[in-house]
Amino acid sequence: MSPRRTDTGGHVDRLKTIRFTFDGVAYTGHGGDTLASALLANGVTLFGRSFKYHRPRGLLSAGVEEPNALVTVLKGEVREPNIPATMVEIHDGLIAVSQNRFPSLTWDIHAVNQLGGKLLSAGFYYKTFMGPVVGPLKGTRFWMFCEHFIRRAAGLGSAGSAKDPARYERMNAFCDVLVVGSGPAGLMAAKTAADQGARVILADLEPRFGGSANWSGETIDDASAADWVRRTVAQLEARDNVRLLPRTTVWGYYDNNTLAALERVSDHKAQPAKGEPRHRYWAIRAGSVVLATGAFERPLVFPGNDRPGVMLAHAAERYANEFGVLPGQRVVVFTNNDSAYRSALALKQAGAAIVAIVDVRPQPSAEMSALAGEAEAELLSGHAVVATEGGKALSGLKVQRFDMVAGALSGDARSVHADCLLMSGGWSPTIHLASQAGAKAEWNEALQAFLPPKRTQKWVGAGAFNGHFMTLEAILDGRNAGLTAVGATVAPMAYPHIESLPCDPRPAPVFEIKAKGKSFVDFQHDVTAEDVRLAHREGFVSVEHLKRYTTLGMATDQGKSSNVPGLAIMAEALGKPIPEVGTTRFRPPFAPVSIGSLAAERFGDLKPERLTPMHDWHVDNGATMYSAGLWYRPMIYGLSGETVEQAYVREAKATRENAGIVDVSTLGKIAVQGPDAAAFLDRVYTNMFSTLAVGKARYGLMLREDGFAFDDGTTWRLGDQDFLMTTTTANAGKVMQHLEYFLDVIWPELKAHVTSVTDEWAGAAIGGPKARQILAACVTGTDVDNATLPFMGIVHGEISGVPVMICRLSFSGEMAFEVYSGAGHGTHVWEALVEAGRPFGLVTYGLEALGTMRIEKGHVTGAEIDGRTTARDLHLDWMLSKKKPFIGSAMMDREGLVASERLELVGLIALDNRPLNGGAHIVEEVDEANPHGSIGHITACCYSPALGKHIALALVKGGKARHGTRAHVSDPLRNRFGPVEIVSNHFYDPEGTRMHG
């Protein structure tokens, strides 16, 4: 047995031995141990180093509020830094290491910082490190030089870059009642609500339900409190309307009773089961919430209160009663309230000697005196601890007479030999979630604590959360809360019989003992009482300024134990009552949350992949896939040894010489149906669609309401009341929402329905001089000659036994056809077309060749319709109907949209025969050393096989007026400068003879 493990008592399984290491040293513990309890049992006193001064630190607490004992847990190369040892359940093979120390926890070189204590006072860094005003270290350089070292000294644990192999998951849950906290109040609330038939979720951040009942030593209805817990939990487990979530921290209270919780599913296991997540993120939508979150004990602020061996009184009680570990043999208790007397007695019963109980109150009650007697402790009332001694473990302390009204010490300091000091500064209800839910906490003078705020959402409080610290109160509260939460009438109940020690919950209003030496308020961040007073002197007196200036409450524990003492010290300095200094609003999360859990199922799978029906064919046939939004599209079908440029030039060239085929299934497709479909399209497009004949398609342009260009595409009239609209791939979703908005909100009188049919159709565009011959070779059921299928005509037929719809339209500038078939037949039709095209030299081409041919034609895409350009800028003003209003028509002629200095679409030809770059700028005169005078930029560029030149589309001031003039590309980022000729954007076959055939 380990040196500090008691022979009996607690809920650890002494028959089960678990092996783990801490800082490379092998230890053993038992089933049910935390890393903290197991190490404590092994006699370890030094757990970590503080942030600023690197002071040695031990355990302050036994729970989630632990500021000192932070460790990094290692799983292979994957690191989990900053975990409180109190929250790590040990398992075989656990590897934990200490942090923020060099070279070791015992000998930490940065402990030298303690010598500069006064110099490193709160906010010192704002006053120095500014460096010289002139010379090589002027500006920000000196600061950045210093910062380099400051950053390395700061920080706690280290994160790694190895990907976590663990699985994280989200779970969406719904319930009538969520009970947070499973102490007597929470358990009672859950049971009551469940008995009423409500769907209940009970969550507790500890592995063991029961909260204080696990260590209070009390009895409920003649059973030990722990047995009462076991019985109640068993009843809940048996019900199918109750979900029990141990190891689950409810960390966020969001709007409309949406709560976020983190379940640590398998951290306590050596290996998760197959498919089992490490953490599960519960998004819980609760009808109502019972907040039974208990309270945190507060430390007292006095010199040396941070020495290893000084801990919260109830924490020691927990270690003794819940884990069977004695934190010390010679124990002194220092308190301002009654609750610590029970702790003293618990340690006494577990085998420690209680040397003294130091109580700041001049006259503790008779009951307390009796308890002190029972603990065989010397009761030093009207005294205070003024110093502690020891290095990496407590060896003794000094006690002095204390007048709590005057806050004055008197008489000689007396030394007491002790290896453990328990302190209790009163209790702060854990009101974080209620505060997150929206309101401000209220100060209660009697309890010296902030009590829950007024209710802003549907929650009910119970137990210590309400400031009701006694178990009987908690159980009554819990029952009432359970009933209230389900909307039942609260009827009186038979009081349970509770055996507990006497305790007056009202502490003395003493937070700090002013004596020589560093008294810590925020342990992790090394904020001392003196720092708080310095903030006061410098005017940082509002609670937020105090926090920000001193970093009080901003450590990993978020001030769970330090906020109230810090406020109290500031209030005293200001001469104001505590509530006038204020309290900060708590924000999510209640306790730190793994980022993996928040990404949940999207960790490693950020976005779904969107695939066209022919995707597998492309991959199987050598396509290099390009990610376009969520879609994957072939970029090139490279032959072995080909560069990207060689491939697309070959593909484009072959298309213009013979024929090419490209997958256009990603184009947005929207069915617009109904008696008013045509009228609707007239309103959303700048040009007319009501005049379009059935069986014909038309190119259309849409503007936004503000008059700028929005999207373009062809729309096909399949029937009198039946249109198939196509959009650009990128804007498909936006256009859909745009149409839905107008139909639903602006023109509800129009009888038109819009439905996304993007996925219904597979689309293949086949173009080139031989395209028609290829179609003729494989299409049945219709002719494809010029008479049957004129430019912008639509026919229905079959390819290889599958129905297809063919529209003759062209993006490439060649005679071209878009062949649509049901998506499930996409590959079948595609293969048939490829096969039919083989004798004609048909190539498959990808986005690069598609882009090349569209640049040659001067068609615009998203690079030009970039949300800042107008129809005029793009020379699409011919599409702006004057016969009707349309979306954007009223706004498109405003001053700024017709200004002469606007950028307009032009073509560019590189006069130096070198490749151009997308995003290069255009200037009239090149100045490589000092680029300036941009008149525009390149939106898209390529090598044009048709022209044998490097060409580009560009948006340039003056636009058309510059046709035929010379300018220069200026691309300092890539050091590419050179002359270009500005030309029309229609490089290739401007008359369109090829596509009209």
């Binding site: 950045m144 910062e147 980022i595």
Partner: protein, 419 residues
């Protein structure tokens, strides 16, 4: 008042730090001022500072309804950059950058401006070209910018996943080396101290409840601490612009107030030495000197004055974070908070005279306000002092929307949610 320096720090430490004086006074409001500035945030304080320092106007009050710096200057992700696309923005933010570069000296207050660079990651060749367009636009205005390859990026940020099997592989990035981060609170405190030293009254816990009017003309304000007359009333309350303008009878503005959440992890040893942004979503991150990773993403996307947001953005931001840094799955989010942003109709700010006589307006900062603080104050002070805008803020008028002279860096049109 004492200068701050290493020497004064030492001298005071030897005296037990007993002699430090308040960083700014806590005066009661006077009955009248030459200029009253509504809003004791970064922009209001900077305006007061430059009014006093550059224009000799010191009979100035800054009115703050809560504690100084309680708005967005105290709740942002601290990035400072001037890497904009459109010239009006680039010029303005570059002016700000130049002021930042000397700000600690100027204020005798270490605002910890750390020029650690800001890197925008590109994930497709098309996006890379977009960034090239932006970078070249910057270079043509004399602003530093460079493109980086994935290999260079990996060297700079070893923890970044640049593998090809990433859902959105990194194909390159746009780097502005002079960009960086600053200690946000210190900026407010430094300007407050600087303005206070030049005679400006900074009045906290003083809420403006209405405007004093003489016909159309604004002649002062009513406050929770009494009426205050002023020759000029300047409004710098981004986040609350709608509320304050409604007090002046102006019902609608080209602004929506939206909540933007931000996050910080527990303190870590140095993990990333630059500011980085994700290109296939909305995510940005840097590391504070204390060691916390400071990061955020998109606004929640609905009108709010609540300074708190909801879970969808939390989840989205964390998912994008891990897409770039899969090693951070076990690191823990420590704290989240929300700030209220004035989202304007084109994503760019407003610094202008008017809209009422005697009134001056500074608003619409979207989520670019922190980095703008020095130039915003500088330009606003100029505009107030000279009754005309400086060239830097001349494009940022209120009537530009109606005239179609929008400055739409993202090209999203009149949809504030998307800027």
């Amino acid at each position: 008042m004492a200068e701050y320096s290493a020497l004064s720090l030492l001298a005071n430490a030897l005296k037990g730090n007993k002699d430090w004086k308040p960083a700014w006074r806590k005066p009661d409001p006077k009955a009248s001022y030459d200029v009253v500035i509504i809003g004791g945030g970064g922009h209001g304080l900077a305006t007061a500072y430059y009014l006093a320092k550059d224009h000799g106007i010191t009979n100035v009050a800054v009115l703050e309804k809560g504690w100084l710096g309680s708005g967005n200057v105290g709740r942002n992700t601290t990035a400072v950059r001037s890497n904009y696309l459109l010239p009006a923005n680039t010029r303005f933010y570059e002016h700000s950058m130049k002021l930042w570069e000397n700000l600690s000296h100027e204020l005798n207050y270490n605002v910890m401006f750390s020029q650690r660079g800001c890197l925008n990651l590109a994930h497709t060749p098309a996006q890379f070209d977009d960034y090239a367009r932006r970078g070249n636009a910057m270079r043509h205005l004399g602003v530093d910018a460079e493109l980086m390859t994935p290999v260079e990026i990996k060297r700079l940020i070893p923890a970044l996943d640049i593998s090809n099997d990433a859902r959105f592989p990194v194909v390159g990035g746009l780097m502005q080396r002079r960009a960086g981060t600053a200690r946000h609170d210190a900026v407010a405190w430094g300007y407050a101290r600087g303005a206070d030293r030049r005679g400006v009254d900074i009045i906290e816990n003083c809420e403006v409840t209405g405007f004093l009017r003489d016909g159309d003309r604004v002649t002062g304000v009513t406050t929770s601490r009494g009426d205050i007359r002023a020759k000029k009333v300047a409004v710098a309350v981004a986040g609350s612009t709608g509320r304050v303008m409604q007090l002046a009878g102006i019902e609608t503005m080209p602004i929506e107030s939206h909540v933007l959440q931000a996050f910080v992890t527990e303190s870590l040893k140095p993990f990333i030495d630059t500011v980085v942004t994700f290109g296939m979503g909305h995510f940005y991150m840097s590391q504070s000197d204390k060691g916390g990773l400071v990061y955020g993403g998109d606004i929640d996307g609905y009108n709010s004055y609540a300074q708190r947001g909801n879970l969808p953005i939390v989840d989205e931001v964390m998912s994008e974070m891990l897409a770039l840094f899969p090693g951070l799955a076990r690191v823990r989010m420590l704290r989240s908070w929300g700030g209220v942003c004035d989202m304007s109709m084109d994503g760019s700010p407003i610094i202008t005279m008017g809209p009422l006589p005697g009134m001056y307006l500074n608003c619409g900062w979207c989520y670019g306000g922190f980095k703008a603080t020095p130039a915003s104050g500088w330009c606003f002070a100029w505009t107030i002092a000279k009754d005309q805008p400086h060239d830097f803020n001349a494009p940022f008028t209120l009537d530009r929307f109606h005239r179609g002279l929008v400055i739409d860096d993202k090209g999203q049109g009149a949809n504030p949610r998307l800027h």
